[in-house]
Amino acid sequence: MPHLATYVGLADHSEQTLADSFRAIAEGHAHVADVFHTCRLLAGWCDRHREALAPVVDRYGEQGPGQEGVDEPERLHAAGLAQAREGEVGLLRDLQDLHVLASLVQSTWMVIAQGAQGLRDRELFQIAQDNGTETSRQIAWLDTRMKVAAPQALIVAP
């Protein structure tokens, strides 16, 4: 099951990327109080997801993207957001980038949950379910916050 191991690695890496990106956006928009606090909170969720996954990573042996013999998820690997953009339109685009990253994480958990069921790996299945549910909540917040930002950013912002 080398491919499941690859996906476990992908989940781990993409959660890490998402956490870093949430933190970068929090810092970059620190004056937008709710974005600052919520992004930091949600980054903490990603950390927790990785902690929950850690024993499984040990069990399966992580195979990250770019390692030999496992080339398919390489194209799935998303680069994180190192820096925030400026202004109201910038915030909107940053939130949208986070949304893309979070969607990758979410579909990864979904795929892992499928695989774990096939293997009857109850531990991994539960982890993938719980983490995926929280990823959905992160996405729901991003949706909500983008809706708030969109009209002003698109119509009135300079």
Partner: protein, 792 residues
């Protein structure tokens, strides 16, 4: 700024009122046993030694100085408001009035510093002008912005002190005339969480309980609600039970040892003093304790009328009483005792206010109070009441009409049918009504004004330069050139001084209109006297703006068809038909009777039939994630099939955003005093009230003050990571603060506590968190006793 003349007009407590009610805050006791009516007692105050029979006329109204809504008559003599008398027949107060109502209701009205003419900014200065010039400037700017940038360039920030008819008119102008989602009220600062918590649990706003539940309950829980100071007449009503036969047990959740806490101890109840910012951990422990005692939970009722029990059970599972003790600094057994009182009482009445609303995780903690009632099936029956309190007298109407960004008539922004109903009622295209964007909350409106994308900000009857968090920043925003600021108010407030146009408004007693208190009692407040000079009612100001803007409906007729308060009210009432806040039947005529009337007509308690407005088609919101504030979608809501059942929702505790550290070792918390209301626009103009609390102060715990070498009256400096204020210390007050915490009142413009607070808000209600910040405390020197009489 208060001149000596302003307060001389009021000579203070008079024989008519019997005693000095600034000292005897709650008045004489009239104790009575459980289940019997609250006796009446008529409180009266007249100025200048006037006797009752010398008054020319009495004009029916209700007190506008807190959310209690005490029915009253205004005394008029020679065309002036000269005093006030409680209405014996009113269901809210049975004749009583508190010190604010007695001494604060009228003196402001003949204060010489009332605004009497419009002002416009010329060469950096505000100068007097006529109405045509002032309104002309507003309209010119408004039209220019509409042309260049569209409706999203307009923002409105209102109050909790206008009348229903005025809010409704403003809501129609904003939603159907301009089409801007940027409307909010300072109600965001005081009661947004009340509305949010009610919507999350029951599907729509609306207080389930009745004040009469005080007469029927055998336990009373006050959560973060220092009722003894904020709603003194309601507290008198409680004292008349706790000092009578068969008293209810009181449980008080408040970090300070308030009069409510003392009553809790005296009645064999419990005072729980959680560390500031930890309410949700405590609530989770109380909920867990209730669930642990299966016999306390009304399972048949919960099964039939709620959804979400298992989710709630899982959310609270980690919060043992010991865990709460560790997080909140309370005694684990005290948590058990409080839960037992809740679990074993026949009829519990709960009230919730700022200690929860302005704190970290505000909505989740307030929803937890609803959960406790739902778990015991204690709702909608005499004594089983739930009052998510309001801070301001007309906050409820701001929410009902939608002047605060809600959709008119407790409708749901995400429900196209609801938007269509209003479009039909107003005869406009539904696309005009800005349902394509979630309503913008106050803090966000000010951010847009800061960036200049809101280019016209209209502020009515509120003083954000003092009352909003980070007030220095707010002042910069208002003073800047990037946004044109219109202020309508009674006085040249700190906010008005920064405006581009200032419009003089008529106040209470100078205009007619309705407002609704916490237990849904609607009062009609009639005009008693003429407004001073050229001041106009807020309704007339809004109508003049609408006329000048030429707002039309989709057939080209005028959008706003009403001219008088009563016509506005009728139009509003028709907009509420079939909604939870149904005003139909409650006409001006009905409201002219001996007492205020609850909506919906003839319904003392909501949900007596345990049917909640949670149907997907009916609800005011599909709900939120209590932790992140993410909205629940229509499909998700439908999938849960709530169908008239209430929601049980839980969330985990998380530590406050700003915790004490080595550099900032104290927890700072803010609050109110009994003698003042809001930013003191009215109460500072009453000498008896102002004399009792002319200054800001800071309360320190005795142990802390010893360590810092601070004695009573010393001047100390409070410094959080932003700003600082210097205030005299009070030590070992009756309302003692716990060690490590300092308390500052928020009313004072010259020492604004809100300069110290952070810009952060609850994810669901968007209410700013005034109650938690870290700070350091330094002694500056001995206080100056001669300073005491100076006015703020």
């Amino acid at each position: 700024m208060v001149t000596a003349n302003a307060t001389d007009a009021n000579t203070g407590p008079q024989p008519g009122s019997g005693t000095d009610r600034t000292r005897d805050i709650w008045g004489e006791r009239t104790p009575h046993p459980r289940g019997t009516p609250w006796p009446t007692r008529v409180d009266l105050h007249l100025e200048d030694g006037l006797a009752e029979d010398q008054v020319d006329s009495w004009v029916s109204s209700a007190c506008l100085l807190c959310s209690n809504g005490c029915g009253c008559d205004i005394a008029v003599k020679d065309g002036r408001m000269v005093g006030i008398r409680g209405r014996e027949t009113d269901r809210v107060n049975h004749g009583r009035l508190g010190p604010k109502g007695l001494y604060g209701s009228t003196p402001w009205s003949h204060s010489p510093d009332r605004l009497t003419r419009p002002l416009v900014r010329e060469g950096g200065e505000l100068v007097e002008t006529d109405w045509d010039t002032a309104m002309g400037r507003v309209v010119a700017r408004s039209k220019q912005l509409l042309e260049e940038q569209g409706p999203l360039s307009h923002g409105f920030y209102t109050s909790g002190q206008l009348f229903l008819e005025e809010y409704y008119t403003l809501a129609v102008i904003g939603k159907a005339g301009l089409g801007t989602p940027h409307m909010d009220g300072n109600t965001r600062l005081c009661t947004a969480t009340a509305a949010a918590a009610l919507k999350e649990s029951f599907g729509a706003d609306g207080q389930p309980g009745s004040y009469a539940d005080i007469e029927h309950c055998d336990a009373l829980f006050l959560y973060g609600h220092n009722m003894a100071e904020t709603q003194t007449v309601l507290w008198s009503r409680i004292l008349d039970r706790t000092r009578g036969e068969d008293p209810p047990k009181v449980v008080c959740v408040d970090p300070r040892r308030t009069a409510v806490a003392a009553e809790a101890e005296a009645t064999g109840g419990v005072h729980l003093a959680p560390t500031v910012g930890t309410n949700l951990a405590l609530m989770n422990a109380l909920t867990r304790e209730l669930l642990e005692h299966d016999e306390w939970v009304d399972h048949a009722w919960v099964d039939a009328h709620t959804i979400g029990l298992e989710g709630l059970r899982a959310a609270v599972a980690p919060y043992t009483p010991e865990k709460a003790a560790e997080i909140c600094g309370v005694d684990a057994d005290a948590v058990r005792r409080a839960a037992r009182i809740f679990g074993e009482s026949e009829a519990v009445l709960s009230t919730v206010l700022q200690g929860f609303y302005q704190s970290h995780q505000a909505t989740a903690a307030s929803v937890a109070v609803n959960n406790l009632h739902l778990l015991r099936g204690q709702i909608g029956r005499p004594g089983c009441g739930l009052l998510q309190m309001n801070g301001q007298p007309t906050a409820q109407n701001n929410r009902e009409t939608g002047a605060d960004g809600d959709l008119t008539g407790f409708r749901n922004w995400d429900n196209p049918q609801h938007v269509q109903e209003l479009a039909d009622h107003w005869n406009v295209d539904p696309m005009t009504i800005p349902h394509w964007a979630p309503p913008t909350h106050a803090m966000q409106i000010f951010s847009y004004a800061e960036a200049g994308t809101v280019g016209l900000l209209w502020i009515s009857a509120t003083n954000p330069a003092v009352s909003m968090p980070e007030s220095e920043r707010i002042k910069r925003i208002l003073a800047g050139d990037q946004c044109f600021v219109v202020v309508q108010d009674l006085f040249l407030t700190e906010t008005a001084r920064l405006a581009d146009v200032v419009l003089p408004a008529a106040g209470w007693g100078e205009k007619t209109g309705c407002f609704t208190n916490v237990d849904r009692t609607v009062h009609l407040s009639r005009q008693a006297v003429d407004p001073p000079g050229e001041a106009r009612s807020d309704l007339d100001i809004l109508l003049a703006y609408a006329d000048a803007m030429g707002f039309t409906d989709k057939d080209g007729g005028p959008l706003i068809t009403w001219r008088t308060p009563e016509e506005a009210y009728q139009h509003w009432s028709a907009a509420t038909r079939g909604r939870p806040c149904d005003y139909t039947g409650i006409t001006y005529e009905v409201l002219s009777g001996p007492t205020g009337v609850q909506w919906p007509q003839g319904v003392e308690r909501l949900y007596a039939d345990a049917r909640f407005p949670t149907h997907t088609e009916q609800c005011e919101t599909f709900g939120h994630d209590l932790t992140t504030g993410a909205t629940v979608t229509e499909q998700e809501h439908r999938a849960q099939a709530p169908a008239g059942r209430a929601f049980l929702k839980g969330a985990p505790y998380s530590p406050p955003h700003e915790e004490p550290s080595e550099a900032y070792p104290f927890r700072l918390t803010t609050g109110r005093t009994v003698y003042h209301f809001h930013t003191r626009t009215k109460t500072a103009r009453s000498r008896p009230l102002d004399e009792r609390a002319p200054h800001a102060w800071v309360e320190l715990a005795p142990g802390d003050s010893q360590r810092l070498g601070v004695t009573d009256g010393d001047l100390v400096r409070l410094e959080p990571p932003r700003g600082s204020v210097d205030v005299p210390a009070r030590i070992g007050e009756v309302t003692e603060v716990p060690e490590g915490t300092v308390f500052v009142p928020f009313h004072y413009g010259d020492h604004p506590a809100n300069e110290l607070t952070m810009t952060v808000w609850d994810p669901v209600s968007k209410q700013p968190t005034f109650k938690t910040a870290a700070c350091r405390v330094t002694r500056l020197g001995a206080g100056n006793p001669t300073d005491q009489g100076e006015e703020g």
